[in-house]
Symmetry: D2
Subunit: 410 residues, 4 copies
């Protein structure tokens, strides 16, 4: 159980911190200004400054860091371990959505690239993985449905029926992150190919290009009042007799559930790593504000209740970070399946802890903390959604408890 950052990681940390200071932070205002000038407010990946930043990141080797190990190397990434990637993802998480996008390490593309790297055919990889790794296109992952509790993946109802050499999709999806961006060119869609198969063999995954007839982007979902257009929004989609070649199937028919499971672990830990960065940002703002603001004759930083919040924030966050690091280390050493319980644990612990810290940071900022003048309310909205991501916390707690109870039977 060795969580130390090795020399290569420390070097990358330095490079990334420098890059954040020299490039990312100074460009944030520009990014938002240029985004506001686009014809299509959802087309964030067309913002000019982004191209410059991505070029600069790539030059510094800050590119595709998320794809681990040999697989990463096979596709031109440095192939870091999860443990090596963790502190870098944390740094990128401190500044919202820009840094991950600049480094080609933004969800949901990362998860999709992993799926294609693991399960894609050479043709699929050439057609979709290569431009994704190059950052030339964007993608989305279409699993959640409005009409069923998607936490139970066997509920997924979108139909995928074979018709000769084609697959025909019918159904509805929502909360498809990134899909409002017109440059999101392909969707990985989960649907039911065989309702008669056993519970975990009914689903399949298929690649659906954006421009396929019958695929309609209905609207963007909002989170609190945010439409998240600066990273592609969350679309509701309707599939009406959408036809794709059978060759667009990822893996064998009936493998959808297994692929979804394989995709979950890395996705969760990346979220958690970045969320820790969010919490660090919140603690920093909270401390700065507490020191700068005076009420009733003393700075907020001298008020006992504010100190209590700051101490609790630090103590909780240190514990959380160690759990995430342990999980990364386990994924590296015993594999995602062996780290199953820990992956559940960080999924449960992270949003609860970070949401608590953000709430306190907001409170220290007064009403301004809820506004566009600070990143706290927006971060809160994003973290709040994590309590639903991959199923609500309650589903994961239930599962983790069952395993714990079983461990104690004789």
């Amino acid at each position: 159980m060795d969580f130390a950052h090795d020399a290569a990681t420390q070097e990358l940390q330095r490079t990334l911190l420098d890059f954040m200071d020299s490039h990312v932070h100074p460009a944030e205002a520009t990014f938002h200004a240029q985004l506001g000038e686009l014809d299509d407010r959802w087309a964030w990946s067309r913002v000019p400054v982004l191209a410059e930043l991505r070029e600069a990141a790539r030059e510094r080797g800050l590119w595709n860091l998320f794809l681990p190990g040999e697989q990463g190397k096979a596709h031109g990434a440095p192939g870091l371990t999860n443990l090596q990637y963790a502190p870098l993802a944390e740094i990128s998480g401190r500044s919202g959505h820009l840094a991950p996008a600049v480094m080609n390490c933004a969800a949901p593309d990362t998860g999709n690239m992993e799926v294609l790297a693991m399960f894609g055919t050479p043709e699929q990889q050439e057609r979709w993985l290569t431009p994704l790794m190059d950052g030339r296109i964007r993608s989305a992952f279409a699993m959640t449905e409005p009409d069923v509790a998607s936490s139970d993946a066997t509920n997924i109802a979108t139909r995928i029926e074979r018709d000769g050499d084609e697959l025909v999709l019918n159904g509805r999806k929502w909360w498809i992150t990134g899909a409002m961006n017109p440059e999101c060119e392909v969707f990985i869609v989960m649907g039911k190919t065989d309702p008669e198969a056993s519970r975990h063999r009914q689903q399949s995954m298929v690649l659906v290009p954006r421009d396929t007839p019958g695929l309609e982007v209905v609207r963007g979902m909002e989170v609190f009042g945010y439409d998240d257009h600066e990273h592609g929004g969350h679309a509701e989609l309707r599939f009406s007799d959408v036809r794709v070649p059978a060759a667009n199937l990822i893996g064998p028919e009936g493998a959808g559930f297994a692929i979804a499971q394989a995709r979950l672990g890395p996705g969760r830990i990346h979220h958690c790593m970045r969320s820790i960065g969010v919490a660090e940002m919140a603690i920093q703002l909270m401390c700065e504000r507490a020191e700068a603001r005076t009420a009733f004759g003393r700075t907020l930083s001298q008020q006992g209740v504010v100190r209590d919040w700051i101490a609790e924030s630090r103590v909780r966050l240190e514990q959380l970070r160690l759990l995430v690091l342990k999980t990364a280390w386990l994924m590296d050493t015993v594999g995602n399946r062996g780290a199953h319980t820990e992956i559940q644990a960080i999924k449960i612990a992270t949003p609860a802890t970070v949401q608590w810290i953000l709430d306190k940071a907001i409170q220290v900022h007064g009403a301004g903390g809820l506004s566009q003048d600070f990143p706290l309310a927006n971060a809160y909205a994003g973290i709040r959604t994590l309590r639903f991501a991959d199923g609500p916390d309650e589903v994961h707690k239930n599962s983790l408890a069952k395993a714990e109870i079983a461990r104690h039977q004789h």
Copy 2:
């Protein structure tokens, strides 16, 4: 300590419940559609259906219910007690901002009308109070400032200087609710007239018409991602050598702090009453959703954790409602000053309890609970701001504790 609803109140409850079902709820979609068609998205009070609804409310006696007692009657209101108004405000709170506006019972106009009724000269009342009671104009209350902790009212820094028969204002305000609406014709502005006076005699309040030169509406503040344009937003204002006649002073010079205190009690209890309605709405949605949704073979309403949330919600809300009713009763019987501790207590308890209930209701709804498809996330944003309204909870807790400690000294 008699909280029973008398016959008049019960009659008004029936009338209001009928009116909500027959008029308000059916008009909600129309209101938002017509609002979307306005040239000025902030001019919500121009929405055509609103005029119809207001006419219908007035015909039914559901008009200006908020202004209590003899004062209310003197200005053409029915003059309910706070205890009589409480259950009506709760009903109106169940459906967001539309019902209070329809009934001419919406903040911040209500508090401003109270100030004018209590402290305004006959000329001020004729010029501003009458059209406000008639619902012909809107108003705002400009106290909070971006540069100081406004919870400590003595921090208010906007300068009001006398220059002959005029008052000259300079300073900045923000979070001025309703002020983005172009029909918001007048601001009650708190500022410092005498920095040398004793601590609670430095401030004064003055009426500033919207079109006064030097008054600039800088921008709208957002809460989470909501701009709250459907009830006039929250403006940042800049006053640069804004001149008004000295006759626009409300009450004597130096009375600003006292007037602000007098305005707080009713404002808070109205918020709390409506917030209880918000919580009732949340419990109802939570129960309906829990019964309608199935995961892992059972409805959510059969899951122990969901039941725990529902039971806790009900138990907490019943206690909160009783505290609010007691406070209303105290305000009616011993006056706002005599109810000081209870007014603080409901200010502390209400947002904490209602926020907790909303969070659980959201969780039962899945990600949809955070979206525009349900009123829960928007309500959460609104309730969250109450933890800052009239100063952060911590200020009120500190004050309440000091009084409690003093009570136990010998």
Copy 3:
């Protein structure tokens, strides 16, 4: 919904407060000293000073206040309403177990007297109720069993079999409060008379005198480290072919569940009323200590975190008291059955709130707060048991939630 204390109640409050100051508080040390000198440490009701106090209480009309209405009057009690009794029970609760015993208002005798008054035959009333009302004997209520989850009353396994004119009992009970006291002369025992009957008709209640052969008092149960000998402890009992006349049956055979239900409501509300008194005592001690103790240059009462605790304590307790008063009022006006939901609600809310307040009061006292030098830890232990009394909170929450969900179905 009128919670005002009427003139009679106010008079009794004054009398009781005087009596606490003049008699009960001054006698507390004597009570414990004399208790320590008894041959049998469990025989608390033999403590000499207690007889004097009881005589004095009776003279002042502070006797049997718990038995409500006409029923109370029929048996020589003043026959207060629940609402009248509430503030008196609260006062008595501020000082531990002595005051209720002095006033003949101590559990479990109170519940047993109610059962006998409601369901006893004239012979049973003469034999047991009269000496109980006179305070000449003590009693216990034997329901809970070690081998089953007694929260589900249908689990009760103790067998009661008819054999001619006799009933034969076999089984085990525990947590039988008061039963270690040798002056506890009679047990009301719940057991199964007909395992084949429908679910709620299987149980019966029977009076079993202490000296009946086959009834063994096995040991006293401890709560944390307390054996609670100063109010009779909590016994484990074993019934081995215990024979009593069939005339000892209370009510008809099969009525045990219904009688238990009837006994619960008043028992719970009495506990809750006294618990509020416990919380008031804790707040008082917390404030006094905070003012008296200095650390790091300031009194604890000047520390923000301590003030936060005190404010939260007051705000939570006010809400709780109102809920208990409302419940008492409902029991008086619509009956115990009509107040079912509220009785559940106070059972859920009271121990949670009071435990929280006690924990903070302890923390303000430092380690001393956990010791015999203050009443806080002992009170904490007592309140903690209430989270199990009449079934764990979770059972009541589950039931209350089911009712709430049903209310919202269409």
Copy 4:
């Protein structure tokens, strides 16, 4: 940051686990029975079976594991690192106070041995350290005082005055753990030698043999009704002109505060390690009980709320353990001073987390969970005291927050 258990640690873990199963657990009932037969109920270290167990532990090398590094080796201990000792202390903590005593690793002797090893003269070491390391005598640490907030060590008021070659002590102490045991032969007493010195140079530490005239053991303090006689209780002491040779001074005059600080770190981490063992015991009992108990037709382990508690317990405990391991590793690598913030953090986090878990484990056990039939209530009482040990949590949070705020200043 490598927390892996090395081969030596794993070997010791196996040995200790075997020893717990073969010797300690089977002897627990005997220990309590023999303790009950002693003439002096406080003289727990005279229990015959203890001598046998200690002999067996020593044979297996399970002796004095607590004293780290070269210092440990210099005094005949194996000299483990903190990281090596951590999992062993956790195992010993699972079974209450017996295992640490058997292994000569019980507080407060451990801290006292460290003080003597670090600061004692050769004569002091021979006279006191050697028999302590041999387990022939017991000791106590007398710092806390009833009349001052001892969390602020500069408050310590006991006077130590020099009179020729002697030191004269006058003052009161309480909560002196272990001191009720007549075999507790020596006290390390902290007192004020120079009230005029600078704040952190006023205190000194001195060795006071139990039989010194003027030293009175006044009484034992209770914790929730427990007198903790099975590990020596918590004494109140009075020093009245107690005279010891000046050679009994530990370190130089005025070094008391510094020695106390040096003693704190290891003491805290040992407590935390054992507390994690307590929490593991609680989770195990909770799971076993939940599986064994049925209510309303399902085992408790199938109830959603119980599962939620179990999952939360595991997730919280994993985070806590990692934080404790990191702290141990830091103490080993950068020293106790370098681990200052982490030592504060575990002091804050451990009792809060473990208390929460114990509360839930108790709730799953019903009222039995509070009784002598399970170790949970006793463990709860012990853990609750940790929120005061070395000062209340609030003091440590305040200090940690100040450091965090300072870190963010520019």
